[in-house]
């Protein structure tokens, strides 16, 4: 990177920062969707930020003995103990690497999913999100796809993930969350 390019990008940054204060207030979230671009097991995914209650990195996870390979252990969030499941294992392609990112799903019971990399926070129009036709819940975790720079990504639905966890742990499958 040449000094001229550095100067240009510095000017661009300054202009963007200044413009952010000049822009009018944006429309409601109904027109836009907040997405997190992540990677789990080396594969790209996206998940809706509206289904998450927090994102954390490098939280200590206490392993628990058990038959579930996807259960990494439990972690403490704001005074509560939350089970942590490996998203890649839930998606069916577990990798030996230990994931460092955790996303807390909204709703109860509390659940945290671990993924390996955070590619970024994107804001996309809802119109470009390809949803399923019937909108009913299926046996999988993925619900729809979103085209993003770098490729189209499947969208991980966190309530479906909780349902899959419940199935794994032998609970009755029901969905209390709004999709």
């Amino acid at each position: 990177m040449s000094p001229a390019e550095v100067t240009d990008s510095l000017a661009t940054l300054r202009a963007d920062f200044d413009r952010s204060f000049a822009e009018p207030a944006r429309q409601h979230d109904a027109e836009y969707a907040e997405l997190l671009a992540i990677r789990a097991g080396g594969r790209p995914y996206a998940l809706r930020l509206s289904q998450a209650s927090g994102v954390h990195s490098d939280r200590p996870v206490t392993p628990l003995p058990g038959p579930q390979a996807a259960l990494l252990g439990v972690a403490g969030f704001s005074g509560s103990i939350v089970p942590v499941y490996d998203l890649a294992a839930l998606l069916g392609h577990p990798v030996p690497d230990r994931p460092r990112w955790l996303v807390l799903a909204t709703g109860t019971p509390p659940l945290a999913l671990a993924f390996h990399d955070l590619d970024g926070h994107v804001r996309v129009p809802t119109s470009i999100i390809v949803g399923e036709t019937d909108g009913s819940s299926g046996p999988g975790v993925l619900r729809g796809m979103v085209p993003l720079p770098g490729g189209t990504r499947p969208i991980v639905d966190l309530p479906s993930a909780r349902a899959v966890v419940h199935q794994l742990t032998g609970h009755i499958t029901y969905n209390t969350e709004e999709r």
């Binding site: 990177m1 990008s9 940054l13 963007d16 920062f17 952010s20 207030a25 944006r26 409601h28 979230d29 907040e34 997190l36 930020l49 509206s50 998450a52 209650s53 927090g54 994102v55 954390h56 990195s57 955070l118 970024g120 926070h121 804001r123």
Partner: protein, 489 residues
């Protein structure tokens, strides 16, 4: 005599001949002296005795004449003459008595003396008588007795007899001496014949020996001369061949001399080149030292570069650490912004405004993370470049070390080359010196070969001369054989 030399034979024969000649000469001298003595005796006898005898007659007649003159004149002077004559007469008698040897003649002399004495005795009275007589008419009285006359005749007869006897003796002596001379002539003739015979024998013997021995020797000489001539011809031919061979040898040696001089010049040039090479090697030695110093300086510079590069890598690592910190901060800011967005989405209208701020914060965090990533990439590039540079520099240092070692090897090789060049220089000088000595030796050989060729030509010339001399000797031998009568063989 067969084993004696021909010279001794000649000397013997000549000596024998000379001895015979001496004997003949001595005999001749003796004979001549005998003849001369005989003739001398005869002549002396004829001269002295006969003359004395004749003088006796003369003196007797002279005395008679003087006596008669006295008688006639009566003068004393005539008487003195008469006495003088008688004294001379007596002296002659005495002289004859000493000289006569024949007894008959002596007897006749004594008879003469006796007759004269009687005659003288007879005369004394007459003379006395005459002195007394003064008148010549009485002269007849003087010889009155008449004895003087007979006595005078007797004396004259005795003297005549003596003279005849002496004449006869002289004649006898002449005949005797003639006989002796005849004997001497005969003896000399006999001796001469003997000497001639002996000389003829010696001559025949010498001639025979000469023909036999000298002829044989001359024959040998002739055959030897022929052999010598053949040998001389062969020697002359060989000398010519040898002379041509020596000429070729001389030519070859001259070429060899030229080649040797060329070799000497080449050796000298090689020596010069070797000296130049040694000088260049010394100059190269200095250059090698300078190059070694330069290599050591390069090694030191490379070490410093490595140190600086390692320090630069360390600084880059520190920068990387800071960038990691910035990245961590950006990530945490991003997480906070995301969580703020999540919290804002549930906070109604106020939350929406807060979400805008949170998004801006998130964007800043993203940009910060992107810039940190770029810095990280740059730092990694720098570190990679530093590592590459360090590795390249270490490789270069190793290359410098290897080059230094190789240069040391090259230096040792170069110094060994320099030593070898020095050795080569010495060897070249030795070669040059040896070649010069060889050239000198070849020149001496050339001179010797030229001398030998000259001597060979002289030998050939003398062989030709020897051949001519041998031919001449052979011809002379033939002539000598002709001379000694054997004839050419």
């Amino acid at each position: 005599m067969a084993k004696r030399t021909f010279g001794s034979k000649l000397w013997f024969g000549f000596g024998l001949t000379v001895a015979l000649t001496l004997v003949m000469g001595a005999a001749s001298v003796i004979a001549l002296s005998v003849v001369v003595d005989a003739k001398d005796d005869t002549i002396r006898e004829a001269v002295e005795d006969l003359v004395s005898a004749e003088h006796l007659t003369t003196k007797a007649e002279s005395r008679i004449s003087d006596y008669r003159a006295f008688i006639l004149s009566g003068k004393q002077e005539y008487l003195d003459l008469t006495n003088n004559d008688r004294e001379q007469f007596l002296a002659l008698v005495v002289r004859l008595r000493g000289t006569l040897t024949n007894p008959g003649s002596l007897a006749l002399l004594e008879a003469v003396s006796a007759a004269e004495a009687k005659h003288a005795a007879a005369l004394v009275p007459v003379i006395e008588a005459r002195k007394t007589i003064t008148d010549l008419r009485n002269t007849s009285q003087l010889n009155s007795t008449g004895v003087v006359g007979p006595l005078r005749k007797a004396m004259q007869e005795a003297i005549a007899a003596l003279t005849a006897k002496v004449r006869a003796d002289v004649e006898a002596a002449r005949r005797d001496s003639s006989a002796r001379a005849t004997q001497a002539i005969v003896l000399i003739v006999i001796l001469g014949l003997a000497a001639m015979a002996c000389g003829s024998y010696i001559a025949w013997r010498l001639n025979r020996d000469l023909r036999r021995e000298v002829g044989a020797a001359v024959g040998h000489i002739q055959s030897s001369s022929a052999q010598l001539e053949a040998a001389a011809a062969q020697q002359a031919s060989g000398g010519r061949d040898q002379a041509s061979a020596m000429s070729e040898i001389t030519t070859t040696i001259s070429e060899l001399l030229i080649t040797s001089r060329q070799i000497a010049d080449s050796a000298q040039r090689v020596s010069k080149i070797a000296e130049d090479t040694a000088d260049a090697a010394q100059t190269g030695d200095t250059t090698i030292d300078q190059t070694k110093a330069s290599i050591a300086a390069i090694r030191s510079q490379v070490d410093q570069i490595v140190q600086h590069m390692l320090a630069l890598g360390e600084k880059s690592q520190q920068i990387g650490g800071v960038v990691d910190l910035v990245s961590e901060l950006a990530e945490q800011t991003n997480i906070l912004a995301i969580n703020a967005t999540i919290e804002a989405s549930g906070a109604g209208e106020w939350g929406r405004r807060f979400a805008v701020v949170a998004e801006e914060i998130r964007k800043l965090a993203d940009r910060t993370a992107g810039s940190a990533k770029e810095i990280r990439t740059l730092i990694d590039d720098v570190r990679g470049a530093v590592n590459t540079t360090v590795m390249a520099t270490e490789i270069g240092a190793k290359s410098v070390d290897a080059g230094s070692r190789q240069f040391d090897d090259a230096t040792s090789s170069f110094r060994r080359i320099a030593q070898l060049v020095a050795t080569t220089n010495d060897a070249t000088r030795e070669i040059e010196l040896s070649t010069k000595q060889q050239t000198t030796a070849v020149e001496q050989v050339n001179v010797a070969a030229s001398d030998t060729a000259r001597v060979t030509r002289e030998t050939e010339a003398s062989a030709v001369q020897t051949k001519q001399t041998a031919a001449h000797l052979s011809s002379l031998s033939g002539d000598l054989l002709d001379l000694v009568g054997t004839g050419r063989r």
